[in-house]
Symmetry: C3
Subunit: 190 residues, 3 copies
């Protein structure tokens, strides 16, 4: 056994080196494919309660040292709205604008909203328990380094101008979203 | 040091070979466990806007070379409805049918629907900006090779016949969904 | 070639051992980072239909040998409610309580609820087709070993006492949720 081994040594050596190289390549490929420390969300909903959940998860992830990528689409754009502009919009876009909240203070709840009373109540109960306001949460999420992407197609279809959204947002499409999502440990549609 | 090494060589060689083998097995297990290039969605919602988001993500993923698996359950089945059949249904199933959209042209928005005006407006605004219609998006998603699975339990409970849904759908249960989901890079509940 | 190889052997041997060690470390890191056989959900919604979907996915995953972690937040807490208590609540908390379902039998559908008729119809159709009731599904999910976490912040803000929820739940925050989510193969927001 030992004799055979020794004779086979040179052979072994090159086999081993070749095997090592192949294994190294496979490990490299695994590393490149491995989900990264990132949470990526589609923020579709424009309801205050769902948006709160999204930003609470975001700040939690950031505090744990994770990257956060939030892709705002459809009503979700209302969560990063700064104000309302009507100039340069066609009649449908104007109607859409007027029926949408002009700012985050007008966001409503998905349940028990009762024409805004529910949302006010939720905000009041949060303040009473010393929970950050929604607006502070969004600012904090941005300051902690989350990536905010606004869906270009939603903006175009609904006629939402860049000036109506928060500063410092990227504009992107589904490719931008998927680029972040496919390498994330957590993916959510909110 | 060199002397010790040389004496230890044969020993080393078999140790190395054993280590290599163990490592290869571990790498193989990692490869088998690695998330694949797939996006898997539960399509629960039957709202036009949410369905649009689902199919936009699906076509985007397919364009990037990802597999897409969509599991239609509860109201989500309305997104792949072809027509309405009442024959052979009991009274509750008939009621359920009559209250559900008979086809995708009757899908409503999750917000600002106003008895269908909102959905029509959304479709109009999409057409005006040369965005594909919902029906074209679904066809394209299917043609690009997405897997459509209809939830057998939802169909049974709600009394939805196979003939009411698009052609070429698989029927499956939660095991079919999870089978695709657990090896996906992106998992969404829409 | 062979001669050069032999001369280089000792050199090779230590290089190989070093390479093996590095590779072992990289494989170990991959293994530690690899998603585990776990499905983690944020259960945000308190709608009977969405909750049903969540628990059907949960029982399916458990049956496949996966771990399941469910984080109940906002209205989702209504899915694990046992009863309603008003003692020791302030006026807003009392209002919130009275407008929330006192137990899971009062859960409503997200669509076609018609003041509770829809939910009753759904339950009737499920029973007729011998599908487990919602309450049985929840019990089974718990018995099969799913981890139920109630969101401490939601409880605090909405004034929901531990005694109003099912027994055997953990109370936790976003860190507890993310701790489970980041190592899961499937992550959902329901």
């Amino acid at each position: 056994m030992v004799a055979i081994r020794q004779e086979a040594d040179v052979q072994d050596m090159s086999t081993i080196l070749a095997k090592l190289e192949t294994l190294e390549e496979r490990v490299l490929e695994l590393e490149e494919n491995m989900p990264e420390d990132r949470v990526t969300m589609v923020v579709f909903s424009g309801d205050l309660d769902r948006l709160l959940a999204a930003f609470i998860i975001a700040t939690g992830a950031l505090a744990m040292g994770y990257e956060v990528s939030m892709f705002f689409t459809f009503w979700g754009l209302n969560g990063v709205r700064k104000n309302r502009a009507l100039d340069g919009k066609n009649i449908m876009e104007k109607m859409m604008s007027l029926m949408s909240p002009s700012g985050t203070d007008e966001l409503s709840l998905s349940k028990m909203n009762f024409f805004g009373i529910g949302a006010k109540m939720m905000r009041h109960m949060m303040a009473e328990k010393n929970v950050q306001s929604f607006e502070d949460l969004v600012d904090m999420t941005s300051e902690l380094g989350a990536r905010f992407v606004s869906c270009g197609m939603s903006q175009m279809v609904m006629g939402i101008h860049e000036s109506e959204l928060r500063e410092g947002m990227d504009e992107g499409g589904v490719a931008a979203y998927l680029g972040d999502a496919v390498s994330s440990k957590v993916t959510l549609f909110i």
